[in-house]
Symmetry: C2
Subunit: 352 residues, 2 copies
């Protein structure tokens, strides 16, 4: 038996093709009696609209969402572009949802958004992705999601993720500075709600320890992943009685702030101060000197996360667990002009 | 008579609430006979799902899209955030669609995207928004859209838009340089497919003319809205026998490239060279020295465009023209440390 067409529905319901289409697409402006006739005909014929038109059957089941809370446009655009490239491979579309990670209503907000837009699944970026109570609450409401998180290894907690080993990469950055002869190396934190921030700190700490350098707490400054906090943090470090000879900003925005702070006090980078960042944002190549950093393949990471999500969605027989494989990335050290061998300084004034 | 509920449908069709919900939401995995029974019951009762669930009736009529082709993440994030803030005011959601403005299949691509995701309307960013044949083709296929364009005045061409008077703002930037004593002022173009680029050039040209300065064609360099083209263009200008004493990069990315080029040849900005940009990207405050530029309120511009679109969509009785008011913005000169009074130079070697 041939499959029924929209024409069959129109004939049986004695209405125009346009009217059938209106009913199928849930447009208003169809009379109640007409709508009932069309729905009866659809039911009797078991008509399913052409998948290429994707109307009644799938509606917007081919849209996924990405939720983020991050002040860095380069990071966000890279995440979006990575997810979009996986979408293009598979015929999905993308909705974006910047949000406030600290909102107490976040779970409701995300669920409302996904329901009203009928999203099939969610890519969750840090820091939301790193809050287990949020992930569990979303999962318990039936949300299919994949997380992008900072972690040295696969958490194997039952929720799919792509994990980025910031700790290992931060170790490498710090080791590079140590090998250039630096002993007093400042560290500027990013936002503590981001696990990447503590992971990067742990890498810094471990490298110092492995090279026998005592960590000086005065050289470690809290802050956020912003230029302004980099500027402020660096000014504070450079005003110390015994300032650092190198500063590791835990992302490139921070490092750019350090660079501006160094210039603002007349220092010549890298000769008076070495500076390293993290992430390899485009502008890390565009500053003068360009920044030594750790190249984080954000677009690839996001693409992989979206592929994981889409594989999970496609595999979905009702209730059947999807065959999902987590994947890890390690950012790579990139050495540019902002780091150089330490030059000896005049000995500092002695503390009592 | 009270409105029928999903419970009434379930009772009449003798199925569970969950099954009704599955049919309404077009989920697969419902048996054919069951599906027919539910659709009959929906038709007989003229049941319409609760608007708060927004399932059958409205589906995704509350989603708009934004399409862009622009290499500048700060610009794109500002456009997205502006559109999103109008969406939040009105309960809409947003799909994004970066695309290749030069693709010959662009109209089909955009229409396919809008149809499969059932988008209610489109905010079109430059350069696509400035190609009339594209706008007309989309409109002729029934796409509701609002354009963001560069124009000195409202084009009044029947298609709603927000227009940005780049010409006037570029005039002001150039005037600022002239008033600092500069006579040889270089100009670096952005991509010629962007009307903003020619508008900015026209403002530069007019300011020189009004101040009686002869335009030297050697000081005008074609390029794209990128750091790299700014760097290359500046190196070319600075290698001239009689180089400029100021360079106007037609966006901040270009100006950042000029700054790097100046530093790469050992120049001290602003004393050896004044540099101005355009757009007031966040990093224009973060370079050293920070950039003189024209503040373009991209987020406000995009918010207004989205409000125009949503007003049009809400007003839409079938075929009735919407009451839409176009709106213009003028970027404002912001003077920072990258521009300074001209210092006299040794006279150049004379040409024959």
């Amino acid at each position: 038996m041939r499959k029924p067409t929209i024409r069959d529905v129109a004939e049986r319901a004695k209405v125009s093709l346009k009217t059938v289409s209106r009913v199928i697409n849930n447009e208003p402006s169809v009379m109640q009696a007409t709508r009932a006739r069309v729905l009866h005909a659809v039911a009797e014929l078991d008509y399913e609209p052409d998948p290429s038109a994707r109307n009644l059957r799938s509606a917007t089941a081919f849209v996924i969402g990405v939720a983020y809370d991050n002040p860095n446009p380069y990071y966000i655009i890279s995440v979006q572009n990575g997810v979009l490239s996986a979408c293009r491979e598979t015929g999905f579309d993308l909705q974006i949802h910047p949000c406030d990670a600290s909102s107490p209503l976040l779970v409701d907000e995300l669920c409302d958004w996904m329901r009203r837009s009928r999203l099939a699944g969610l890519v969750l970026a840090p820091p939301m992705s790193e809050r287990m109570e949020l992930v569990e609450a979303l999962a318990s409401r039936g949300v299919k999601l994949v997380r992008i998180i900072a972690a040295a290894e696969d958490p194997e907690d039952g929720y799919p993720c792509v994990f980025v080993d910031d700790r290992d990469a931060a170790y490498e950055v710090t080791e590079h500075l140590v090998q250039l002869g630096h002993q007093r190396i400042g560290f500027l934190w990013g936002g503590q709600e981001h696990r990447s921030s503590s992971e990067r700190y742990l890498g810094y700490e471990k490298a110092l320890k492995d090279y026998g350098i005592t960590l000086d707490k005065h050289l470690v400054v809290p802050g956020d992943y912003t230029f302004d906090d980099g500027f402020r943090g660096a000014r504070r470090l450079l005003a110390l009685r015994e300032p650092p000879t190198a500063i590791f900003g835990s992302n490139d925005e921070i490092a750019a702030g350090v660079l501006a702070a160094a210039k603002s006090v007349g220092m010549n980078v890298p000769y008076d101060l070495s500076i390293a960042g993290f992430e390899d944002s485009p502008f890390s190549k565009q500053s003068w000197p360009p920044l030594t950093t750790a190249k984080q393949a954000t677009e690839d990471i996001a693409r992989h996360a979206a592929r994981l999500l889409i594989a999970q969605l496609r595999h979905d027989a009702p209730e059947a667990p999807a065959a999902v494989h987590n994947h890890g990335f390690v950012p790579q050290l990139v050495v540019r002009g902002s780091t150089a061998p330490m030059r000896p300084r005049p000995p500092p004034a002695q503390d009592a």
